[in-house]
């Protein structure tokens, strides 16, 4: 029972990080229909920006984290504006854009390696406090991740429902052509979506930086997790991304209770397969943000 409780807490902690990843990825894909594989390197950019601010500039952690989020938002918008947008403007197929996103991912990974070396970069001054609740150990980072999901989901929901930009994003996600006809600047809205989606992923990246450090390829696995979470939850659905994140996190953690842990990487994809079989539209696709 002690082990079960610990695995449950671990699943909630990791599920929170997955939910953040799924929220950002789902928002971008659900609105622009671009499978954004360069999401991984942008995630890494966020970690490095925060690391530079904390280590090189010596800024407080909260400000460094904010710089990481801002850096990712800028990088995400730049990727859309400088890479995807010109392709779309020339009427390239979605397959071409997909290949471009893969190429971008490789190029950005390499640029990060050149800039920061492949060594791990950490913030040695940071140590997460640990709370002992009976047989269960909970770190401040795990609690922080859960709090971050709640805050991001609330802010995103309010933004989408109450602001003009939010309404425009919803309209774009529903029907791009119709949104254009009614006068929405779809390029600008897509740019904003890329900035917001990248910023959301940056929050997860900062937690990863604090937990294990930053490496140029740290975004490789998160892209796939984000994809699984977004599809399992239902593309473009905020409750879906959150449910998908926690489902993947808990299934991964509790599933390995009895299954050998070398299957860890397969569990998320088995879950994806099962959900696709039973509910191809995802768990929450019927709901609007």
């Amino acid at each position: 029972m002690d082990l079960f409780a610990q695995l449950l807490v671990n699943g909630l902690g990791n599920g929170s990080r997955y939910a953040l990843l799924g929220l950002g990825f789902g928002l971008i894909f659900g609105t622009t229909r671009i499978v954004h594989f360069a999401y991984g390197p942008i995630y890494a950019v966020a970690a490095y920006a925060a690391w530079l601010a904390a280590s090189a500039a010596g800024l407080p952690l909260a400000i460094s984290a904010a710089i990481g989020v801002a850096g990712a938002a800028l990088a995400g918008a730049a990727v859309y504006g400088l890479a995807y947008r010109p392709f779309e403007a020339r009427g390239m197929s979605s397959h071409s854009v997909l290949i471009l996103s893969l190429a971008l991912s490789i190029v950005l990974d390499s640029l990060l390696t050149l800039a920061f070396t492949p060594s791990v970069q950490t913030i040695p001054e940071f140590t997460a406090p640990i709370f002992i609740l009976g047989p269960v150990y909970v770190t401040a980072l795990q609690l922080g991740q859960i709090a971050a999901v709640v805050a991001v989901a609330a802010i995103l929901t309010l933004f989408l429902r109450r602001t003009r930009y939010g309404q425009a994003i919803l309209a774009l996600g529903d029907n791009r052509d119709m949104a254009r006809i009614v006068g929405i600047d779809t390029d600008r809205i897509s740019l904003v979506v890329f900035a917001i989606g990248s910023a959301v992923s940056a929050i997860a990246a900062v937690f990863t930086l604090l937990n294990e450090g930053a490496t140029p390829t740290m975004g490789f696995n998160p892209v796939f997790i984000a994809f699984v979470v977004a599809v399992v939850g239902g593309l473009g659905s905020i409750p879906g991304a959150i449910a998908g994140g926690y489902l993947v996190g808990l299934v991964e953690s509790l599933g390995l209770w009895k299954i050998p842990t070398e299957w860890q990487n397969s569990i998320a994809f088995v879950l994806l397969f099962l959900v696709m079989l039973v509910r191809p539209q995802g768990l929450f696709s019927g709901l609007k943000r």
């Binding site: 002690d2 082990l3 610990q6 695995l7 671990n10 902690g13 990791n14 490789i106 990974d109 390499s110 390696t113 070396t117 492949p118 060594s119 791990v120 970069q121 950490t122 040695p124 140590t127 997460a128 640990i130 002992i132 150990y137 770190t139 990863t208 937990n211 294990e212 450090g213 490496t215 390829t217 740290m218 490789f220 696995n221 991964e252 953690s253 390995l256 209770w257 050998p260 842990t261 070398e262 860890q264 990487n265």
Partner: protein, 408 residues
């Protein structure tokens, strides 16, 4: 010269330790006498043949430069380039320049196979440095088929030892390092071991070697958990390991994996000693203060050794890269020197000497080569290099040498 060439050719054909001598029969003595003039003539002709020098000695290297965990590949690359530059600055090998042809295998066996084929097609490569156990297992049959001399200074898997006669190792393999580090918990009187391993061939080799050794000692294995070498979520594994109340935790992973294991183990309240087979700057960074007391076994590269070569190498490496050399840097730097030394010996025999077969033969004829670890390294007939394995303990973030492991 005849006496030199015959043992050499004998060694090339079997590569195994010499069988006990048998008394020759009368018939075989008569045959030998009859053939003696021909053999003497043939030997003279072979030895007298001038060396066929290539314009350059091109040595291949297959490194995981764009692999997800490419830190060690970049260390290997700069060590290789440093060795090549040093050798060329000193006039090359017998006046001939050395070049490194480095290919990226991305940590993917299929890409490694393509890279090996490219090295063959483009350069007719005769000697190559390998890295990564999975890639090594994929490309070694190609090297074997085409008689390319291969030297692996990175992977520790036992699966690469034995089946490939052209494959040599200048890093101590799993069966050696696992046994070496397990001497420590044995001395402490521990009985219950929990293991955390990488899902790689190296990790599996270490599990096999450690389990055999620990069971032979009479110990118990309470849990074996595994994770990908670059996994960031190992919480389930750590929770399961903690639950078994082992006396100590063995980490069969490589950089930066052990760093995260140490960090999470301590965060989950595990106070047991942690042992492993590697400690690098990256491991130290990820583990932070949780690396304190970590014990590991590794080939012992001591930059302050009394031998001038390790000292010179360490000083130059620090000067060039503002970094301390560790086992990967030392092994790949050494790898280039080992191959160049074998080429030099092979050239002394004359003829078409720059072939994988002749390079291997030169090492079989004399398996002792100078080592950047100090003194000489001796290659065993199975291709593994005999180095002394050191036991280290991390104190204030620094790996401190404790003693050499006493293993049979």
């Amino acid at each position: 010269m005849t006496t030199n060439t015959l043992p050499l050719q004998h060694a090339v054909t079997d590569g195994a330790p010499p069988a006990p001598a048998k008394a020759p029969s009368r018939r075989s003595v008569a045959s030998m006498l009859a053939l003696a003039p021909a053999m003497a003539f043939a030997g003279r002709a072979y030895a007298a043949e001038p060396p066929k020098d290539p314009p350059v000695f091109r040595i291949g290297a297959l490194l995981g430069l764009t692999d997800k965990g490419n830190w060690n590949a970049l260390v290997m690359q700069r060590a290789i380039q440093m060795a090549v530059e040093e050798i060329n600055a000193a006039g090359g090998v017998e006046g001939i320049k050395v070049e490194a042809a480095i290919e990226d295998h991305q940590g993917v066996p299929r890409v490694g196979v393509d890279a090996m084929q490219r090295l063959r097609a483009r350069y007719d490569i005769q000697a190559v440095l390998l890295s990564y156990s999975a890639v090594g297992l994929a490309v070694a049959p190609i090297g074997e088929e085409h008689k390319i001399f291969m030297l692996d200074g990175g992977s520790v898997t036992d699966a690469l030892v034995g089946p490939f006669k052209y494959l040599y190792h200048n890093r101590s393999v799993a069966s050696v390092v696992a046994r070496a580090v397990l001497t420590v918990p044995k001395q402490m009187g521990f009985k219950k071991m929990a293991q955390m391993a990488a899902v790689t061939d190296d990790g599996q080799s270490l599990i096999r070697a450690a389990e055999a050794d620990w069971k032979a000692y009479g110990g118990e294995i309470t849990a074996t958990e595994q994770a990908m070498s670059n996994a960031s979520n190992i919480d389930t594994q750590m929770a399961k390991l903690r639950n078994t109340n082992a006396d100590f935790l063995a980490v069969w992973q490589f950089s930066p994996g052990p760093g995260l294991v140490m960090k999470r183990a301590r965060e989950f309240g595990m106070k047991q000693p942690i042992i492993g087979v590697e400690y690098t700057a990256d491991i130290g960074k990820v583990a932070g203060p949780h690396s304190e007391g970590y014990i590991f076994a590794s080939d012992y590269f001591n930059p302050n050794a009394s031998d001038p070569w390790p000292q010179r190498f360490a000083a130059e490496y620090r000067k060039r890269f503002n970094d301390n050399p560790e086992v990967y840097a030392a092994n790949y730097y050494e790898g280039i020197h080992v191959i160049c030394e074998a080429i030099k010996r092979s050239r002394a025999q004359g003829g078409d000497y720059f072939t994988g077969e002749r390079i291997r033969a030169a090492l079989l004829a004399n398996p002792k080569v100078p080592s950047v670890y100090g003194g000489d390294m001796t290659f065993k007939p199975d291709g593994t290099g005999l180095k002394r394995v050191g036991i280290f303990k991390v104190t204030n973030g620094e790996a401190k040498f404790q003693n050499f492991a006493e293993i049979n």
